[in-house]
Amino acid sequence: MTAPLMLDIKNLGKRFPARAGREPPPWIIQDMSFSVGAGELLTIVGPSGAGKSTLLNIIAQIETASAGEIVFDGERITGADQRALHPGLNRRIGYVTQDDNLLPWRTTIDNVLFPLEVQGTLDAAARVRAQELIDAVGLSGFERYYPHELSGGMRKRAALIRTLVYDPPMILMDEPFAAVDAQTRTQLQEDLLRLWSLKRKTIIFVTHDITEAIALGDRALVLTRRPAHIAADHPIPIPRPRNVKDIFTMPGFASIYERIRADVQ
């Protein structure tokens, strides 16, 4: 890898603390090591319940790690003490969760501007940037709508650009498009790739959908069932820009798909 490392994870382990008088619970993540280069779009595929969300929560500094080390941009950020965690690492790690988590009492535009408001960086230029993002994902005209008035796909878009608007160098995405229909999902994937190609963020995108992992990723990691660790690391040799809709017709898709599927099982 030529790009400098953005995230380096070494021998990461996670288990929840034992309750009094019981055996310690099994490891959820054990001896997991991988690294992500700056500007890389890494996808992580794994079966449901493999600990994918837990992994992202640990990187996001929401959950503690039980073993191992995480280095972010040259800085050791592993936390074993819940109170010492800094969720989002001072706005340097964005997190797009499975639920959109839009604030129901805020309109689309106010949800998108929320991080800037909280961070005290809301000025005219920021508003222009937010409007550009809204236009880029086709939410123009819906700025004054409340979340319950938007479709599932629109809410996902709003949640995505709410994270992009404050420009964190790394973004974690936890099956963000899992709950929408296939057609909308393809559009959302295209939106994501377009936005990513404009500003090469480092993205870790977790999914259980092998096709999605191939369509989006520079590289796909395969997680095993509990305790989760890396079963395989596949570079995706499909050139960009990619046509997400017809990704399965691209040369090389079938063979990489087969190899990942074999690893998942």
Binding site: G88, N101, L103, W105, F114, V118, P147
Partner: protein, 258 residues
Amino acid sequence: MRWRVWFDRLIVLVILLAAWQGGSLWLGNYWLSSPWAVATRFVASLFNGELAFHGGYTINEALAGCVIGGVPAVLLPFLLRRQPIVVAILDPFMVGGYGAPKLAFAPLFILWFGIGIESKIALVAAVVFFIVYFSTLSGVRALEPKLVQMAQMIGANERQVGRHIVFPGAVPAIFAGFRIAVPYAIGGAVIAELISSNRGLGYLVQTGAMNFDTTQVFVAILAATIIVHAFIAVIDVGERFLLRWRPRGAALIVDHGT
């Protein structure tokens, strides 16, 4: 659909009035005043300023009591949000205050605060406080942890989480609390006036009963009921504006809550 509801309401009203009129004819005007007598007296009292005088007094008591009791009841759960131990310590006392028959305190309040408006306000405040406190507390506790986590991820501090996540999330519960509290506030004011006062709707009830004038008693009760309706209508307007972010269906359920 809407005119149908109003039409059916009219039918219910006619049936209620007919039953009342029948009862009045059967028992005699002396024991149970007739709807017609109440209506004419009501209009007469409205125009000679008697209702405005007494009703206004009761409204002032209820409003002042709602503010004095309601504002701390709303603020306290927010201030104690990060102090679960303090909330736990206070809990049995709050439940006690909520459960104690506050109307029974009316004679004490009159003893302490005199027979003027202060004792009535004190009673209303005591009634409103506990209802709104528990409602607000439940709203603060029904906090969506995922939204808090999202806010923390983007760098929100504790104060910002309170202002942008906890408070807006609790607004529906605060409204629900005041909706429940309003009839008790008017009721508390009227009862306190009943015991000792020379003004207010409770005073009208008291003098009416002493003079065996059931018409006057009913006029005062009718006025108090209309005031409760008006208060709730004002709350409705405020709620519709402040909670316009909610899906329609959810708002309707609360609309029928009272």
